[in-house]
Symmetry: C2
Subunit: 158 residues, 2 copies
DNA sequence: CAAAAAATGTAGCTTCGACTACATTTGGAA
DNA sequence: TTCCAAATGTAGTCGAAGCTACATTTTTTG
C-alpha cells in the first residue's frame, strides 16, 4: 500500500481537543434540520393534494392522489396510513380520505405558503412554468422569516 | 360496513376516458421531477462539503465529512461509495476522498448557485441566520430560470 | 341483477439513508 | 519500535418510499 496520499495537514487532532476543530460554526445542525424536515415535506405534499382534491370533487380517492402525486396507489395507501396515525386524515377501508381539523389547518398553511412563494417568484421575474415547478420544491424550505420577507416584497411591489 | 361516505361526484370515470380527467395539467410530472432530484440533492451536498473541506485542509476525510453533515461515518462511507460509482469522487481504502473533474465541476456549480441564492435572500431582506438556513434547502430547487431571475434582481439592486 | 371494471387492500421485494457494534488499518507518541 | 487512539471498513438492523403481483371489495354497466 503506497503511502502517497498526503495525510498531513490538520487531520490528526492532538488527542486533547477531540471535537469542533476547524469546521464551520454548526453546519451539521443545519443539515440535521433539513433531514428532519424531509419526512414532513411528504406529509405536507399529501395533505395539500388531499385538500385540493376535496375542493374539486368533495372527496379524495387514493387513485386520484396516486395520479396527482405520480406514485402507485400502494405508496399512497401506506403513506395515508401514517397520516392517519399522525392525526392529519381519516380513512375507512375502501372509502375516500378526509382531512381532520389538524390536517385542514396544515393544508391551509401549506397552501398559503405555496401561493406566496409562487407569487413572489413571478414578481421577481421567473417565467410562469419554472415558477410553478420551483415553488413546489422551494415552499418546503421557506422559514417564517423568509416568508415574511417575500410578503414584504410583494406588498412593496404591488 | 355502512355505505355512508358520499362517493358520487365525478369519481367514477365513464370507462371510456380512463385517464386524465379532472386533475390539473400535469401535477404528477412536477412531483416526479422533485423525487428524481432528491437523490441528486444528497450528491450535491456531499460534493459541496467535500470541496469545502479540500479547500480548507487539502483533503476531505470521512470523519470530517461525517461531522460536517451531521451523520455517522458509516453513512458517509456508503454514500461516498456511490459517488465513486457515479464518477464524482475517488477514494482509496483508508485514504481521504478527492473530487474528480466531474465532481469539481458539480461542486463549483453548486457553490455558485448557493452563493446566488444566499445573496438573493439577503438582498430581499431575509435575516442572515434564516437566509443561511433556507439557502441550504432552497438551492436544490432553483431552476436555471429562477437562478437567472435572482441574478437579474441582484444586478438591478446593487 | 349479474358481470366486468375500477378502486382498495395485502404480500413481498428493492433501494436508500441512518444507526450500532465490532474489526482492521494507520499514524503519532511513548 | 511498539502501542494506542483515531479513522476506516464491515456486518447487520430499521424505517420509509417505491414497485409489481395478486386478492378483495365497490361501483358501473349491460
Amino acid at each position: 500500500m503506497p503511502p502517497d496520499t498526503p495525510r498531513s495537514t490538520s487531520t490528526r487532532r492532538p488527542a486533547a481537543a477531540p471535537r469542533r476543530q476547524a469546521a464551520g460554526p454548526d453546519a451539521a445542525t443545519i443539515h440535521h434540520g433539513i433531514r428532519r424536515d424531509h419526512s414532513e415535506e411528504t406529509a405536507q405534499d399529501y395533505v395539500e393534494a388531499i385538500a385540493a382534491l376535496i375542493q374539486q370533487s368533495n372527496e379524495a380517492r387514493a387513485v386520484d392522489l396516486a395520479r396527482k402525486l405520480g406514485v402507485s396507489h400502494v405508496t399512497v395507501v401506506r403513506r395515508v396510513a401514517r397520516l392517519v396515525e399522525q392525526g392529519y386524515v381519516t380513512s375507512e377501508p375502501y372509502r375516500a380520505i378526509f382531512l381532520t381539523d389538524k390536517g385542514r389547518a396544515l393544508a391551509e398553511e401549506c397552501t398559503v405558503r405555496h401561493e406566496t412563494v409562487l407569487a413572489f417568484l413571478l414578481a421577481v421575474g421567473v417565467p410562469a412554468a419554472a415558477a410553478e415547478r420551483d415553488a413546489e420544491g422551494i415552499e418546503h424550505h421557506v422559514s417564517p422569516e423568509t416568508l415574511e420577507a417575500m410578503n414584504g416584497f410583494l406588498k412593496r411591489n404591488s
